[in-house]
């Protein structure tokens, strides 16, 4: 029979000295894991939160029956401090700290699949609600809040013109310049006009506008409606008997449908103007450039692009509003909704554009 091991603590037990003491004391406990251990704290003259934590940790160490840890000599002042905590509550502290178990893979897959499925269902439901609300607009146009439509159209349309002009011009210049260099090697720089005309009117103009619109306006719709949701304003509308879809979503859809084609037309024109600038620097006269475009591009290319932009506008505004209405509570929820609005609408734009490409190919447009 060996002597009972004693852990002797002395001096100050505070955040500076506890780390070393902790390691030493725990090592002793583990070394003598099957016999009773005594902690002698008679020489402790100061003890802060970390010191109490150390004592608590020693006393709550998991050990076989009979191999108890006893504390002796602690001054009454610190005993009162220690008495605030029940040692038994801290026996499972290791499990408590690491208590959040990692979710298993099948669980995770299932949960995410379920969430995606629910999201898809909500999107379909929302589309249905929007269609129904739009049908009611056609029947009774006076029920629409036209004042809201106008102010939203101004904010989403007129105020977006500078950024649309800037980016479209840049796109036109870059496209023309980058394609002119290789084409010049074949003496075919005039055909840059064909390339630009076709690509911009059919694809790039509408897509460029849509991406700006989703980042600028789709996000704004989600944030605005999301904040209203967090502030219980949506609840207030519902208990007043006002349908949030009619009240908030329909004006935004109408405004988007009105301004998106206009922005796309501006984008088209500015893009081509940017190209013209580069071409005239390469000694292709503007009239030649214009004639080349007009001779090559068909009206349906232009109209098709604009039709696409209307659909993009609907998708972006609808997604923005839906994500806003789906907002949970708290400030971070609004941020999440905004992010989701932009990501979803850009995804939908890509999908819709692909469908349009297939459609126009099949129709021979």
């Amino acid at each position: 029979m060996t002597e009972t091991p004693i852990i002797r603590l002395e001096g100050r037990l505070d955040t500076r000295t506890v780390p070393a003491a902790w390691l030493g004391a725990m090592a002793v406990l583990r070394r003598h894991s099957a016999v009773p251990v005594v902690v002698d704290a008679a020489a402790v003259d100061y003890c802060d939160g970390a010191g109490v934590a150390l004592l608590l940790r020693l006393l709550s160490h998991r050990r076989p029956a009979g191999a108890t840890v006893t504390l002796r000599g602690l001054s009454p002042k610190y005993q009162a401090l220690l008495a605030q905590f029940k040692v038994d509550d801290y026996r499972g502290v290791d499990e408590l700290a690491g208590g959040v178990k990692a979710e298993s893979l099948p669980n995770r897959v299932g949960r995410i699949t379920h969430a995606m499925w629910r999201d898809l269902r909500e999107m379909v439901e929302f589309t249905g609600e929007c269609l129904a609300a739009c049908a009611r607009v056609v029947v009774r146009p006076t029920r629409v809040r036209w004042g809201d439509v106008l102010s939203i159209a101004e904010e989403a349309g007129v105020n977006a013109v500078p950024i649309v002009v800037l980016l479209s011009w840049l796109l036109g210049v870059i496209l023309a310049f980058q394609s002119a260099i290789p084409m010049k090697m074949f003496g075919a720089e005039l055909y840059v006009a064909n390339l630009l005309g076709m690509a911009v009117l059919r694809e790039l103009g509408p897509i460029m506008t849509a991406i700006i619109f989703s980042g600028r306006t789709g996000a704004a719709f989600a944030a605005e409606i999301g904040t209203m949701k967090v502030n219980e304003e949506i609840n207030a509308l519902e208990t007043m008997g006002l349908d949030p879809v009619r009240f908030l979503v329909v004006p935004r859809l109408l405004a988007a449908v009105a301004v998106m084609p206009l922005l796309a037309i501006i984008s088209d024109l500015v893009c081509l103007a940017g190209g013209a600038m580069v071409m005239s620097a390469m000694n292709v006269p503007v009239t030649t450039y214009v004639n080349q475009i007009v001779g090559f591009v068909h009206p349906q290319d232009f109209v098709g692009g604009i039709a696409k932009s209307v659909v993009f506008g609907l998708l972006i505004a609808g997604t923005g509003c839906l994500r806003g209405l789906q907002t949970k509570s708290g400030a971070s929820a609004v941020g999440q909704s905004t992010t989701r609005a932009v990501v979803t609408s850009i995804t939908l734009i890509v999908i819709a554009d692909g469908l349009f490409a297939v459609l126009s190919y099949q129709l021979g447009l």
């Binding site: 209203m228 502030n231 219980e232 207030a236 208990t239 007043m240 008997g241």
Partner: protein, 255 residues
């Protein structure tokens, strides 16, 4: 419907989230013209109960009869008719931030009445006057204090002259003086206009000032632990926990 009939009857209502029951088989009634207070500690489900009573959430089972019709099952025009019987003031006021106070109060009038503009403006201004905000009609919600926002919320809830007003934590976040003013506003409206109030709160001073009757909810027992006049409960409740609840706080807060 006679005066003795309850104006709101909550029948066997069970509410919860994601399958976890929060309040189990509640049953209580609110009588016309009284100020009825739902109280309890944080997290006991009083705001949740309120949102079920106004039809925002779907209960797990049971019904809420407002003026004799069940809001849980009503749909379409019938539901709209029930919604018209009450107004709600939300905890944050929930005023529409882009509209002035007058426009906020006028909104329900625009949507549900055919009054001409002058009449709508005057009606809305009167409602603001009732809560002492006539001079702030042109202000945006962000330009006035929290207490004023709540009062404006009450004005908007009263826009269509409902017979019931639901108030969600009217005193939360207000200083004692503003809170007492709001209590006086509530009492005045209840006594002068005969509106029935259903108020969710946990502010004891406010309860003793305004409440005709209270129900007290408890998280552990998942239901009503006391019902009656607050003064009676403080003195004579058979449940010592309830007596303590009222007394302890009163000792600390009485002038």
């Amino acid at each position: 419907m006679s005066d003795q009939d309850p104006i709101i009857r909550v029948e066997d209502l069970t509410v919860g989230y994601d399958g976890d029951i929060l309040l189990d088989h509640l049953h209580f009634e609110v009588r016309p013209g009284e100020v009825f207070v739902i109280l309890g500690g944080s997290g006991c489900g009083k705001s949740t109960l309120l949102k079920h009573m106004i039809g925002l959430y779907q209960p797990m089972s049971g019904g809420v009869l407002i003026g004799g019709d069940d809001i849980v099952t009503a749909a379409g025009e019938a539901r709209l008719a029930i919604l018209r019987r009450f107004g709600v003031m939300y905890q944050s006021g929930a005023l529409f931030g882009s509209m002035t106070l007058l426009e906020n109060v006028r909104l329900p009038l625009e949507e549900f009445t055919h009054l001409d503009d002058e009449a709508k403006n005057l009606d809305a201004l009167m409602k603001l006057d009732l809560v002492g905000l006539r001079l702030f009609a042109g202000h945006l919600p962000s330009a006035i204090s929290g207490g004023m926002q709540k009062r404006a919320g009450i004005a908007r809830a009263m826009a269509l002259d409902p017979i019931i007003l639901f108030l969600d934590e009217p005193s939360a976040g207000l200083d004692p003086i503003t809170s007492a003013e709001l209590d006086q506003t509530i009492l005045r409206l209840a006594r002068n206009l005969g509106v029935t109030f259903v108020v969710v709160t946990h502010e004891l001073p406010s309860i003793f000032t305004i409440a005709d009757r209270v129900i007290m909810l408890d998280k552990v027992r998942q239901g009503i632990v006391a019902e009656g006049k607050p003064q009676d409960l403080r003195e004579h409740s058979p449940d010592p926990w309830v007596r303590n609840f009222f007394n302890r706080h009163v000792e600390g807060t009485a002038p």
